[in-house]
Symmetry: C2
Subunit: 372 residues, 2 copies
């Protein structure tokens, strides 16, 4: 799938891939192998698996809110230990390496602790290291704000760091190493016939990610799309080609459906016999919006008697709170629980994703035939 041999590769390894000294040696061997093929290699690494949770647990004994300057100071050490150890592992295997922390790269973010967004990267120190024949080992997940406070990018932030570094270096590819060998048409643990996708557009990948595919963070795909970074999702435990996430191309339109996702994380709430008049739906959703409850799918069924039914889904964890809010805020509409409001936790949202659906009829028909 590669058009030409890349000359500058960014490789990102997750917590499982660097979960032990032995696995770090495996990462080191992969980095050195890429370099010996003539490439320049920059590596972005996560904390060793379990480490971020261990550190968060320490903070929780003193402090409830994870969105805090000091919590970021503490949990960013997970990646700091990883980059040092991976750099040592590369040297132990005969390579040259140098680690970079967020304040050394320099990855500048805003000051939203625990969920910071990258503002700029000064990639010159990394370029200097690469030019000197070193493998640059960069801490994922972390940055500094303009005042030098340490920030973190939120869970999965190392993917974002990987793609951002690739964009800043104008890398030929950003390889995201994980414990599966690519992006699948649907969850292979649920559907045994799920197929690995060879090539997918940013737009389709965004849809899959927002619908529950966990292999790649949404923000990293958005960043890839914005800067045109070619992303290659692949396994750190094998050498097979994974999934390329790339700009949409004409030839791709042939593929009608790229993927199917299923989410069991939502609950359905139904309000019956609402007056069918303007402003009613707005009143229903206002209270939920104020409480930051994310309403996903909404279906309205017109009745014959001037009333209407309203059905919508919310995250399963917010179902109880949603009903409490509705009975408190709009008692005239919903009555008490069990009167005109009912719910169902046992639902499954199935999503079908594909750029080709724009111009292909019959997708829904096929889907419902399959589901039945």
């Amino acid at each position: 799938m590669v058009d030409r041999a890349p000359v500058l590769i960014v490789q990102k390894y997750g917590g499982t891939s660097v979960g032990s000294i032995d696995r770090m040696k495996n990462v080191a061997a992969r980095c050195i192998a890429s370099q010996r093929q003539g490439h320049q290699v920059a590596v972005v690494v996560s904390a060793m698996s379990g480490e971020t949770n261990r550190l968060l647990e320490l903070t929780r004994q003193l402090h409830e809110d994870p969105n805090d300057r000091e919590v970021d100071v503490i949990i960013s050490t997970g990646e700091q230990v990883s980059v040092g150890l991976v750099a040592l592992a590369i040297r132990a295997a005969g390579g040259k390496a140098r680690s970079f922390l967020g304040h050394q790269c320099k990855i500048v973010t805003d000051s939203s602790f625990a969920r910071a967004r990258i503002v700029s990267i000064d990639s010159q120190p990394i370029k200097d290291a690469l030019a000197a024949g070193e493998i640059a080992v960069i801490a994922g997940f972390q940055g500094v704000d303009e005042k030098g406070n340490i920030t973190t990018l939120g869970r999965g932030g190392s993917d974002t760091t990987g793609v951002a570094i690739a964009a800043a270096l104008k890398a030929d590819v950003c390889e995201i190493y994980t414990d599966v060998d690519g992006v699948y048409t649907t969850d292979p643990n649920v559907v045994p016939t799920a197929r690995k996708i060879d090539r997918i557009s940013y737009e389709e990948m965004l849809e899959l990610a927002s619908l529950g595919a966990k292999v790649l963070q949404i923000r990293s795909v958005e960043l890839g799309m914005k800067y045109g970074v070619r992303i290659h999702v692949r396994s750190s435990f094998s050498d097979v080609e994974g999934t390329w996430v790339v700009p949409e191309e004409t030839s791709m339109e042939k593929v009608v459906v790229s993927g199917v996702t299923a989410s069991r994380d939502e609950a359905k709430i139904t309000l019956e016999d609402l007056p069918d008049s303007p402003g009613i739906a707005a009143r229903v959703f206002a209270g939920l919006a104020e409480s930051n409850i994310s309403v996903d799918m909404i279906v309205q069924n017109q009745g014959y008697d001037g009333t209407t039914d309203l059905t919508f889904t919310v995250p399963k964890g917010d179902r109880k709170r949603s009903i409490a809010i509705l009975t408190e805020k709009v008692p005239d509409l919903v009555g008490k629980e069990g009167e005109r409001v009912s719910f169902d936790d046992e639902i499954c949202k199935v999503s079908v994703v594909g750029v080709g659906m724009r111009s292909h009829a019959g997708v829904a028909k096929t889907m419902f035939e399959l589901l039945s």
Copy 2:
């Protein structure tokens, strides 16, 4: 012992004092208590006890030499976690706090990884925090070189950070909190009648430290002497006054002997029947010096037959190597081991320290009477 109420206090807490979340809460309570007395408080903390060794053990699985850029990246995280947690503990107890890392303070060092020396400190960010009513929580043991590489100051480096920060802030006192309640005339575990010293000069403290007293690092005392920082060594588990390390004063001359130390870490080597001619001793010690073996005490005993005996001490761990070097380099002088060279590992060096000895006779007599 305090002449006036201090207004700016630097407190340094070692690994035992911050060894658990509960102990950090104790540190937080002490900091807040000092602040509520009207003082400005900056705290320097070490890594939680055991943490630096845990991190070093990880590096040893990949790398033998601890004097390495990446090892410093890794082990400096111990203090980073501590400052974040202590800052959270202070806030949990109702105080205001902000943590500072070496690259934020900014503690600039040379580039000697694992044993860096402090070049300068930009204390403005700390002063700003103090002026805002915050307790500044500063990572001990770490700095950055001019290029922004993370460095560490060597074992016990947090004492050095404490005194250096106190010097930079022109603090009224640097309190070194430890698990004993001060500096003793000799090791209280060996001599039950050992007395706590109330007040000692930098010079005497340096002597005690260089002779084996472990309560305060030599470098921190040197730094205190250079910048006139008043150091108060005391227990983090009680409120009693500890030991003040301060400039030498005339009134102190009354105290003849400040302390007695004993070192069992040396071995005695004796060379018999050497020719009593110039240059012989130089030849003996040249080979040892080349191999960086530190010769401590030297005693020469004149014989009656134109020969001389030479006795000296070396670190016990270097005794075997010393004899190997001597038999190889100056075989004409020493013969084989057991011929004219002999050794004794079962010795104890006793040192008596005190400014007053300059002008008081009879100290040696008293000492030998006690020893016998």
